[in-house]
Symmetry: C3
Subunit: 628 residues, 3 copies
């Protein structure tokens, strides 16, 4: 695994560049990402391209032996461009413009802006496509950040109508698919259809789901155009995009299919603070992040690239600026997060950013260097871990032991119709993942329809829409499969299946969910009334051969116990880990990570022969062993 860093030469005096590059190399970094917000410097006026500074920057970085990942600048179109086509701005659900002044101020559906992106990406790729320092391209930056995957602009409305026409063919088919007879919502023509915002009460969920699909499609299409241009002009380089954490506004599998490498931006402390974790968890893990946040995304995004190639494009190096509260990582956490990415198979971990910028929006976001260019804590840990990585044996391929199925459409379905406040397919997936990890298991997060032969255990936390392909992929498996509540509860058109939930899964599991209820709680308590002749493996947990259906949520000790027992029976080596400790096996290495605030003793024998660390792990400690 290699290390890298995000760098913005345009932010610093040119006289600093060479020294910065030299220090990167000395720190053990081999890669540097640049350029993704630099449009106003590349093209300060319409049509006037200024390449000189970028030529020089690439030369300096290349001369220092650094490998460059060059970003396309389309996340931040300059003001002159926006002024030339003001309707390129996205509108929010309230119909308000999301204008210039920060970033991502564009609508994915605007043809004029797409043309400008084609132009600038082509110009960039033509100029640098063959540059020896460039090893990869990043398209745009964090698609969807700040809720930008969805726009309610006129361009989006027109695009949606056309997309619906292509999908449904006739307006009668659409009316039928959506159930528009309900509340007289029937249309006579695709041109009558509006976006599902500004309605008096909730729009038709089928309408909303198709709009989410359309919006996701627009993101993938936008990315695909850049990928095609970059591949044409820069063959042999990796094309990559950087995804975010706990973000489901577009189908990352679809975008990942067009990429050579999937990457993501890992900010464990910010994610802990901003998401659904309890106040107690937020306090306990405030300087470490919840022990499953980074790993969950590593395993999720590895599954978003067909060959499993993935990077961390941005790794938190210190306090960030964007959460409600922004603690400093416990000393050692930057090292821990880096080694954990390695344990999950990353090819690269790139820190964000080289030097803390003293100006503009992110001035309180730490870098490896302080604003005064002195090494910050992150730099010390990067240097240490670079040496450790170099000394470790090759981690080998990831194991294929437990497959956990996750699907972006599932998240849209529970967003649109939670039925109980706080029910979210993403959260459910995370909580099943966490349960398995507390048992010491290694998990692949896969999309439905993936070939899952060979896994010892398959878990499907929340999969409302089950396609025929997905059902086929589960048919005849010898491994146990555990389904969580709401499996098969919706058709592709967002209706309850005629045969009732779990719909097509009834061919595997002879049971019917005849009623659901949700009770107060955070997350909501979810209970299903099941009609079946099957026995219960636990309260509300039905078993049919190797198939299990967990009709309840949230996960409680009874569910944990059943799953632990299923896993053990499937030959998996389950260990009840102490709070905050996590293990990860890959190849013949076993990694252990202590996310807790107390020292912990590793389970005897769990790591085999130690090649890093010791059996007693301090807070933020890491140990690595070679399995016997």
């Amino acid at each position: 695994m290699k290390l890298g860093v995000c760098y913005y030469p345009e932010h610093w005096p040119e006289t600093w560049w060479a020294d910065d590059a030299r220090r990167m190399g000395e720190m053990g970094l081999s890669h540097v990402r640049i350029g993704e917000f630099a449009w106003s410097r590349i093209e300060p006026e319409p049509g006037r391209l200024e390449w000189d500074w970028l030529d020089r920057a690439l030369e300096v970085l290349g001369d220092a032996g650094l490998k460059v990942i060059l970003g396309t600048p389309t996340a931040t179109p300059p003001k002159w461009l926006v002024d030339s086509m003001p309707e390129m701005i996205a509108l929010d659900a309230g119909g308000h413009p999301r204008g210039f002044g920060s970033r991502r101020h564009y609508c994915f559906s605007h043809a004029g802006y797409a043309g400008e992106c084609d132009r600038i990406v082509t110009q960039l790729a033509e100029r640098y496509g063959q540059h020896p320092a460039i090893v990869a391209w990043q398209t745009d930056n964090e698609y969807g950040c700040h809720d930008t995957a969805v726009s309610y602009s006129l361009a989006a409305r027109d695009g949606f109508r056309e997309w619906l026409r292509r999908k449904h063919g006739t307006i009668a088919a659409l009316n039928q698919a959506w159930g528009n007879v309900f509340w007289s919502m029937e249309y006579r023509d695709f041109a009558e259809i509006e976006l599902p915002n500004l309605t008096v009460t909730q729009a038709n969920p089928a309408h909303e789901l198709d709009f989410r699909r359309f919006s996701s499609h627009q993101v993938a299409e936008f990315n695909r155009r850049q990928v095609a241009i970059l591949r044409r002009h820069s063959p042999g380089r990796d094309v990559v995009h950087n995804f975010m954490g706990f973000f489901t506004q577009f189908d990352h599998h679809a975008v990942g299919d067009d990429l050579d490498v999937v990457s993501w931006d890992s900010y464990p402390l910010g994610f802990l603070e901003q998401f659904w974790f309890s106040p107690e968890e937020k306090r306990r893990y405030q300087r470490q992040g919840h022990p499953d946040i980074a790993a969950f995304h590593h395993d999720l995004y590895r599954g978003c690239q067909r060959e499993g190639r993935w990077w961390v494009m941005e790794q938190q190096p210190g306090p960030v600026n964007w959460a409600r509260y922004n603690p400093a990582p416990l000393p050692g956490m930057v090292r821990l997060w880096t080694l954990e990415a390695m344990a999950h198979g990353a090819e690269l971990v790139s820190y964000f950013r080289w030097r803390q910028a003293p100006f503009a929006q992110e001035q309180m976001h730490a870098g490896l260097l302080r604003p005064d260019s002195v090494d910050d804590q992150g730099a010390h840990e990067a240097r240490t871990v670079a040496a450790e990585i170099a000394a470790l044996p090759d981690p080998g391929p990831p194991p294929r032991r437990v497959a956990l199925v996750f699907d972006y459409t599932a998240a849209w379905v529970t967003d649109i119709l939670p039925q109980g406040q706080g029910f979210s397919a993403l959260r459910v997936a995370f909580e099943y993942y966490s349960l398995l990890r507390r048992l010491g298991l290694d998990i692949d997060i896969v999309r439905p329809g993936t070939d899952i032969a060979g896994y010892a255990l398959v878990v499907v936390p929340c999969q409302p829409i089950c396609s025929a392909d997905f059902v086929a992929s589960l048919t005849g498996l010898s491994a146990p499969v555990v389904f969580g509540a709401r499996a098969g509860s919706k058709t592709a058109d967002f209706a309850i299946p005629a045969e009732l939930p779990p719909g097509p899964l009834q061919s595997l599991l002879p049971l019917k969910v005849v009623r659901v209820e949700s009770l107060r709680g955070q997350p909501c308590e979810w209970l299903e009334q099941v009609e079946t002749g099957l026995d219960e493996a636990g309260p509300g947990i039905f078993r049919h051969g190797q198939l299990y259906y967990v009709s309840r949520y949230p996960i409680d000790p009874q569910i944990e116990q059943v799953i632990a027992s299923v896993a053990a029976n499937a030959g998996l080596d389950c260990i009840a880990l102490p709070e905050g400790l996590r293990l990860r096996r890959t190849g013949n290495l076993v990694f252990a990570f202590n996310y807790g605030t107390e020292s912990v003793d590793l389970p005897p024998g769990a790591l085999g022969k130690f090649v890093l660390g010791e059996p007693r792990l301090p807070p933020a400690g890491v140990a690595v062993g070679v399995a016997r």
Copy 2:
């Protein structure tokens, strides 16, 4: 009492209709409501009316012996109609359109839309006004649902100006009435007046109150036009509208005055979750609803029709889809709610809906039948209760024992100027009602000015504006009258009376409220400083002969004790009921309902001779006795 169900033939294959109708009859249902959302099927294109399907549906239902309530479809105008007059859309208080895509997307003040409603209602009434299966008409559906009684459109603004001109005559009179000299808000002409939204801080409360009155007037006017058409073309049939729960955005007494029957839509579990109840109450009663929610509305809406005719048009049959959390009713609750409606004098209880729709917005809303047409829990209970009702003696007329005065204007006054967060006239009325019910009393909720001679006790929980007629109706009563805080605290023009609160009530009660204060709490604690020579019947409770003034809120044990003693002295039979148990007398029958989760023993002798149930009531249990 009869049973019925809400049915949407347009949602199901025509081949199912006959079997559905047959099963309704077998289940003990005699009535069926249809049609209220079917405009797009009745008139799929402008001017092209398609009656055939509706003719056939009525024929099938009529042939099965069912009595049909036909709804006018004006709650859901089709898209083509909206596109033909886009300014018919209501605007919210922020000035944003509330557009097509769900329901109730119209402004009550738009003349063009009113004309279209006249047309379609006339066409419907002309065609089916004499149809033998039709016994009643429902106008529109749930006026005001999703906060739609109030609109801030241009049509509303123009209508409001005209309404003000008719009410106040001259602009000088309006300026005087509102006190516009305060903050230079004086107008020179009615054409200068805007709606009271989008102001920098709160608008003049007199301005707001007149706008609430106007908005309510527009709803009544909208309804009255439909009633007139239906009466003209379909004489002899009942005209009814279905009101909602805990909803005060228009004057239901005024709308009720134009109806033959008032009905309401009873969803006890959703109302418990969505309203002001404490987390503890929400947990305790999650599967039953608070024991006074259904009864409160039964008694309120019975009082909204001059002859006391009322129905439950929609009765919750299982979990709903629209609350934050949606529990399933405890088994037996559907039966209990049905019998409770009978005990309060309903002529009809109609379940919503026949079969759970597997598509569109309400796909998670239970029906009597599951989506796969199998009887759901609600069907079993409907069948049971239908037989029980048939076997019970006639309930006889409601008693006239306790009158509780409620007025919609009071709710507007406390909405507009709560003075202490959480103070709401509706909530206060409910809490006094609940207090009286915990004493085992039977209550009529009446509008101010109703003839209340003959009642043993009169309670006026919160009546800020006291008209001369109301004061006259209380003068010379022999029964005790209990007034809650804020009585007589405002003039009709939303000012403090010159003689201070309780204003005109001082002719009955020699006291003055010289100061009020509100303290932190949920609801707020409300304390009045009273100047009087009267004695206190309890702390802050002043007595003058048979008249009592409770100057505090919320209700506490001291207030309860005084009221219990007043009731007992008035000859009422007070019983301190166990938590969750409620009684209701009507004619010579006594009903008992157990809303608790534990079995409870009825007070010995409370029910006389049992004709249903036993002295020990299980959870969701009902007993009926004949008074000796």
Copy 3:
């Protein structure tokens, strides 16, 4: 010190005026403020001025010996004026108009409205500038109330562009100062710059800060125009404006520089309820207000006028109407607040208002008189305190013992980039102030750059931007100076100083803040990592000679202890006061105020010889002594 009252002759029958004026005098009031909302009565139609009523009102008041403060009516332009120039309306951050119907419905940047204000103020000043009854003018009313200091209108945008051009000179200089290279936010021309609202995510903080400065500048400019007109036509009268509590949307020092007297509107109970105090404090002090709220503002606003002249223009006389909960003051509090203003040097305390208005928005706001003209509690206390004040010795000049530095720009900086939720420079200043007051100290709140020679102790709670002048003012002081966290953490252009925080203060304090973190809490916990060779005077408290840097927040007992010890060593007489008790020395008088709900014994000897009250203070009690 004199007493006065706010009076609205236009609200009452003219026949009442003379009696009202007589009663004011008898109550001990010498001043009366009138006219500030009367535009619609002064000019009921464009150009038609009606002076007669105001002539008569002034005559009646003057004849009764009252001194009149006449307000300009520009906070409430009439509807006809707004309709003549609709674009004078401010827009909120969402782009929505803040229209007519309450007050303050204007944009400070609108040239047309500014012209109308010039006209009406000129006409008013020409007519009454030499009137013998008039002793002072109030400009407008409560600038910024209801968040009106900032507007996002086109007029504001154009004004902002021009202001930026004047400030930065060239667009290149602005791009450099703001760091617009970050995220391609660079502009080619000032005409490309938008207001910092409606952006996708946070705008550049430098952009926001300049917009806050511009908005503040517009307020000061608006006020300055009125002051100039009034001085021209009414020489020798004081010009005053009434500020609010806990309000920082414009630079009150800048506005104060143009005034003869600074006044503020003191509502201790409402401020307690609406601001950051804990639920426990809100309950404990619900009828008194937090013991430091009034004093903090007295000391703050005394510092906003160059000669220290200040008034309370509106003093809460009973319950108000605008907080979530509106308790009545404990009997005695109106007297206490009045004497406390005297203790802090006020020249005048004016009660708001004479008689409670029974109509319009503030009908639940108490006056000295009840709506029925009977004396309310406030009147009794005003009468008492008027006599007491007359009997007290002259309070003498305020002491110069402790200077606490506060700057409005600091509040904007922490608003814009709190970095930890709940961190607010205003709150930090209040909490340091409160700490010092609990030690029995007397404080001047001064702007940075004030001459602070002669103070025994200087405290700088939160001063992110430290100008060279400010640093110079601290250089060579013999008194100890205590700096709170974030001192010197930003340049004037909202960047981190090149030498890191505390930036230019490093010339005084040899330390560097190399990292900050914020942790969950309300307020957030703020921790700084400091690089220094200095010793710690306590955990995280660094000392260099007489200079202290407190790198943590919130204030805890360790910080309190260090500051108490610094104060004691500086020769200040520190007393650990009981909860709720406060002292204030001025001249040779010592005042004691009991904000608690229990009686309390004064520290022996603390007051010297008693001239008012006794050593045991009841709740709401006041004592005054002459220092020996």
